[in-house]
């Protein structure tokens, strides 16, 4: 970064709910400080002032679901020195990736009276399927403390310090009783990426995997455990087919249960 020049940051939106970029505006205590350190050069949800690229840091929210967005993400990549994807939509295709398991034409006709006007791809895919990504921040939504960490790591030219273990470990660190052992509540904590601070188990609820798979998760072993708690094949399909349905580990697991379910019928 050159002396005296503030780095230029851009926020881009593709198919999404806006929740991840809202996390930036939810940093009520840090927002003005961040704005002092970086030039917010493109952030349509917050500002009508748009500064031309190239950008030092681009935060990308959302998945690719239309032909024009598939083109636009290439432009964003070209204009960005450092590209970080934020949230399950951008890292895994999001909840809208449920279409990837079905016939999209049927999907369109359920929602729209005149399907012929809808231009959409058959799939919702993560950003990394289209361009190279420098860093991925998982979560639906992302954790705002992690977002602040990613921005400040970038400002200091270091690697973001984000955890790679599971929600299960976060739960232990927090001193929670295990909801699965103590209450027999099915929980995806053992296979889900850390970052949220084990929110659901702290509220007597099993994790539903909104931070996506951790590295090398043992999903089939967890499924067997859920089976012993009385969860059937069809429910296991739904469990792994949530906001991170198209993340590879969860996708494979849901497909395995789908096959099993078909055989059982």
């Amino acid at each position: 970064m050159g002396q005296g020049r503030k780095p230029k940051m851009a926020v881009w939106k593709f198919a999404s709910c806006d929740g991840c970029q809202l996390s930036l505006l939810d940093c009520e205590d840090e927002l003005l400080k961040i704005a002092d350190r970086v030039q917010i050069a493109h952030f349509l949800e917050a500002s009508r002032a748009v500064v031309k690229g190239p950008y030092d840091l681009s935060l990308v929210e959302g998945s690719i679901t239309t032909p024009s967005d598939a083109v636009r993400i290439q432009e964003v990549r070209r204009a960005s020195k450092f590209l970080v994807t934020i949230g399950a939509c951008a890292t895994a295709g999001g909840i809208q990736a449920l279409r990837n398991f079905q016939d999209v034409k049927e999907f369109i006709s359920i929602v729209y009276a005149r399907p012929e006007y809808i231009q959409t791809l058959n799939t919702s895919t993560p950003i990394a399927d289209h361009v190279s990504v420098d860093f991925e921040l998982q979560g639906c939504p992302i954790d705002k403390r992690q977002l602040v960490e990613v921005i400040s790591a970038f400002l200091h030219g270091r690697k973001p310090n984000t955890l790679s273990h599971s929600v299960c470990v976060e739960c232990k660190l927090r001193g929670n009783v295990c909801v699965m052992v103590a209450h027999g509540t099915p929980c995806l904590g053992p296979v889900t990426h850390a970052g949220c601070g084990a929110i659901c188990p702290s509220y007597d609820r099993g994790c539903y995997g909104c931070f996506g798979p951790k590295e090398t998760p043992n999903t089939s072993s967890l499924s067997r455990w859920w089976g012993r708690l009385g969860v059937g094949e069809q429910d296991l399909v739904r469990v792994f087919r949530g906001v991170n349905a198209f993340a590879e580990a969860f996708r494979k697991e849901s497909e395995a249960h789908e096959r099993q379910n078909d055989q059982d019928q």
């Binding site: 939106k13 999404s16 806006d18 003005l32 917010i40 917050a46 500002s47 369109i108 005149r114 939504p141």
Partner: protein, 429 residues
């Protein structure tokens, strides 16, 4: 006079992606289009085959700015299908988390998205250079709303604690105490907000709207009530689709909701306020009067003041709920699914949000219908734009363009919400 075209291809400071297109020939407005190019995400389709208990978490993902509204309409619709009533402290806690969302969402809009229009800034960060105290107050007020959602829901965006029947876990009185403390500050800050927004310059632009909103026997509406209008509508929630339709207009790029026999209508803060002024708490009524509002507001540019009054109302209501709170013995009432259809409609920050679900006897969703506030207001936004441009046709193009943007932001439109049901159109000029 020369023809002119106003084209704003990327509207800023709204939730989601949209564009505005206005065409003027001589001294007449010939075309006004609020275009939506946000990709559709097909929520109604992907809900089919999902378990009833998943509806609040899935529909929350329609909108990161008002997830609680989606969760509330979803749980009410499901409980309606199963014949379950949630009352007492659980009902009060639902109102409490909704207060949090109103405070958070309205404050975001008032301070960060809308106020810069009135004061001539591109955004609130630039506004903060000249008015640091005001923006800081806004951020802290927003945070007070978020703190309610975080305690009640686990986190600000897509809270995890709401379920059909109630919650997974309910707070203790002592956990709520610090939130109430902060809310007493927030109530003062909200009062200041009403006073401040009342000083912002507004154009004369009174419109003859049909307001639609919920009406409850004694509360300012959040979760329940009958659907009424100032022109005689008075129906139960389950009758919604008898009175309203979504229409596909050939020259337009979106499906619009309208009254079956009348046309455009208005939902959201100024509709809610004008239909329920007498249900506001005394402090909110007084603040509204002092700000120069009467019991009915017809000028959309004053929606910023009405939103501020609603922030005050939500702070006051939240304090009242916490002060009277007794922890319920169980966090949720038991649910036994049965086949049927359930209807739910609650007041999202931007207006009524309607959900209908048909479920089978195992509680699996067979059909879902969701009508968000922004798609209901879409027709009215275009009507406002047409009239506003016509009345100000001699303004220089750039100034008129800015004011058109402000006209749209009066509605705090949420295009992410509207899109799963808006038609797409790509061959924009």
């Amino acid at each position: 006079m020369k023809d002119k075209t106003i084209k704003i291809s990327n509207l800023a400071r709204i939730e989601g992606e949209g564009a505005l297109f206005v065409k003027i020939k001589g001294d007449a407005v010939v075309d006004v289009r609020l275009e939506i190019f946000e990709p559709p995400r097909f929520f109604e389709a992907l809900l089919r085959g999902r378990a009833f208990g998943e509806a609040p978490d899935i529909t929350a993902r329609i909108c990161g700015i008002c997830p609680v509204a989606y969760q509330m309409s979803a749980v009410h619709a499901m409980e309606n299908a199963f014949g379950v009533e949630v009352d007492g402290p659980l009902r009060a806690l639902r109102r409490l988390i909704y207060c949090g969302e109103w405070i958070e969402s309205h404050t975001l809009h008032v301070y960060l998205l809308h106020a810069p229009d009135y004061l001539g800034y591109a955004d609130a960060l630039r506004m903060a250079k000249d008015h640091p105290g005001i923006v800081e107050r806004g951020l802290q007020l927003k945070k007070a709303g978020n703190e309610i959602i975080r305690l009640m829901g686990g986190r600000e965006v897509h809270p995890i604690n709401v379920r059909v029947g109630g919650f997974y876990k309910v707070p203790t009185k002592s956990e709520l105490a610090p939130v109430a403390e902060r809310l007493r500050w927030a109530r003062e800050a909200a009062l200041e907000t009403v006073r401040w927004t009342a000083t912002l310059p507004v154009p004369e632009f009174d419109q003859d709207y049909e307001f639609v909103g919920l009406r409850h026997p004694f509360e300012y509406p959040f979760n329940e009530g009958r659907l009424i209008s100032n022109r005689g509508l008075n129906i139960s929630v389950r009758e919604y689709e008898d009175s309203f339709v979504e229409e596909q207009i050939p020259h337009s790029h979106a499906l619009h909701s309208r009254f079956k026999n009348r046309g455009a209508y208005l939902v959201g803060p100024i509709a809610r306020y004008s239909l329920n002024f007498d249900r506001l708490s005394p402090i909110a009524q007084e603040a509204a009067r002092a700000a120069g509002l009467s019991a009915v507001c017809r000028n959309p540019f004053r929606s910023i003041v009405v939103r501020s009054v609603e922030i005050l109302q939500a702070c006051d209501e939240a304090i009242r709920i916490i002060d009277g709170y007794e922890r319920p013995t169980r966090p949720a009432v038991p649910i036994r699914p049965r086949a049927g259809t359930g209807y739910g409609c609650t007041e999202a920050p931007r207006g009524i949000l309607y959900h209908r679900y048909r479920v089978d006897d195992a509680g699996v969703i067979q059909e879902a219908k969701i009508v968000p506030p922004t798609s209901q207001n879409q027709k009215m936004i275009e009507d406002d734009l047409r009239r506003f441009v016509q009345a100000n046709i001699n303004l220089p193009k750039e100034k008129l363009g800015l004011q058109c943007e402000q006209t749209i932001r009066n509605y705090d439109p949420c295009i992410s919400c509207a899109t799963h049901f808006l038609r797409l159109h790509y061959d924009r000029e």
